[in-house]
Symmetry: C2
């Protein structure tokens, strides 16, 4: 996997996550190869990789489509994220350097500014940045790759629902609180806030529907 295949992965992932290729849309190999200026081989490899990431779905002899997550799965995804990212926050509270925490603080603060002005695109970008940075602080590539596909799945939600104002304020507040918990070197606090943060997002994005699993924190 090198230039051609790698670029294909990046461009396809970008277009899917940005919504340019809508959920359910068919992704023909020849068409993509044509658009990207390469042959079918690297396109095929890119599609398989994205399938492993959970962004596309491949059916034998029938080709690839952008995934459409049922609400039931998304519910589970938020529950899993709540637990794994809670673990990341715990690990970070123990092992992150002060400089790491400063960087996270910067992102959270900048995010708060954009949120106050309603610049949603920037908010989404910084939110993804915040979470991936924090997960990176866990110091384990396994954590990062495991959580990666789950985060992608939730990003695809962007085109479906949006945060209301109250949820947005909660989210901003959580981000800042986690930074505070990290500075206090308090693993339990950090984990608990991150857990609440993602359960809050779950409620806001999926709506007040009946949840698949009831939580008792």
């Amino acid at each position: 996997m090198t230039a051609a295949s790698d670029r294909a992965v990046e461009r396809l992932r970008e277009r899917i996550l940005s919504g340019e290729y809508a959920p359910g849309e068919r992704l023909g190999e020849v068409e993509l190869a044509d658009k990207l200026g390469v042959s079918r081989t690297p396109v095929r490899e890119a599609l398989r990789l994205l399938a492993a990431e959970g962004l596309v779905e491949i059916t034998t002899n029938k080709g690839a489509r952008v995934v459409e997550y049922p609400a039931h799965d998304l519910d589970h995804i938020f529950l899993i994220r709540a637990r794994i990212e809670g673990l990341s926050a715990r690990t970070a509270a123990i092992h992150a350097s002060d400089a790491d925490i400063d960087k996270l603080d910067e992102i959270a603060t900048e995010l708060a500014g954009y949120a106050a002005h309603g610049e949603l695109d920037e908010v989404y970008r910084l939110n993804a940045d915040y979470h991936s940075t924090l997960n990176g602080l866990s110091g384990s590539a396994v954590v990062l790759s495991t959580i990666g596909s789950l985060i992608h799945a939730t990003v695809l939600l962007r085109t479906l629902h949006s945060f209301d104002e109250a949820a947005m304020r909660r989210s901003v507040s959580h981000h800042l609180e986690i930074v505070a918990a990290l500075r206090a070197r308090d693993p339990d606090w950090a984990e608990a806030v991150m857990h609440a943060h993602l359960l809050s997002a779950r409620a806001s994005l999926l709506g007040p529907r009946k949840h698949a699993v009831e939580e008792t924190p």
Copy 2:
């Protein structure tokens, strides 16, 4: 992906998990294609898929090798498994049918029998069966695929250490206790036991080394 590619994936995965291809061993495309009786193309796809599953590691222009997980990553893997499979146990306690629980009970009972006679191969097989069955009860394909690669990583451990007798008894006891918690329809109990079960396995398999993250259950 059809016959050729699919069979290649299955056979390679089997050989890696069984230890026939040792961690760190190089997996040349032409050699595998020759052994499997297909061309390089399906072999390449199989290797990419296994890379996504976390069983092999591919470096550009340098080929594929069986992964070698550092102890640090394995530590995180058990922590993540403890949380996700704890969630599976919780979900199962709420949604599993009585027949599902019966099936799990059968597996756990049979496993206990083999453990008493020290038939380790059967124990390993039924243990994997138990966990994948329980995770399947969560009713979410996302849970199953997310946890899949993590379980593979821990299976590779088999060649490194083994359970001592006390750890084996604990493990068997946990399996049976989880079934009891499911029958009682007690999500908190089920989740707590599964959490303990995997932290116990972590301690037994990784040894009493310094953990990357301290737990405060």
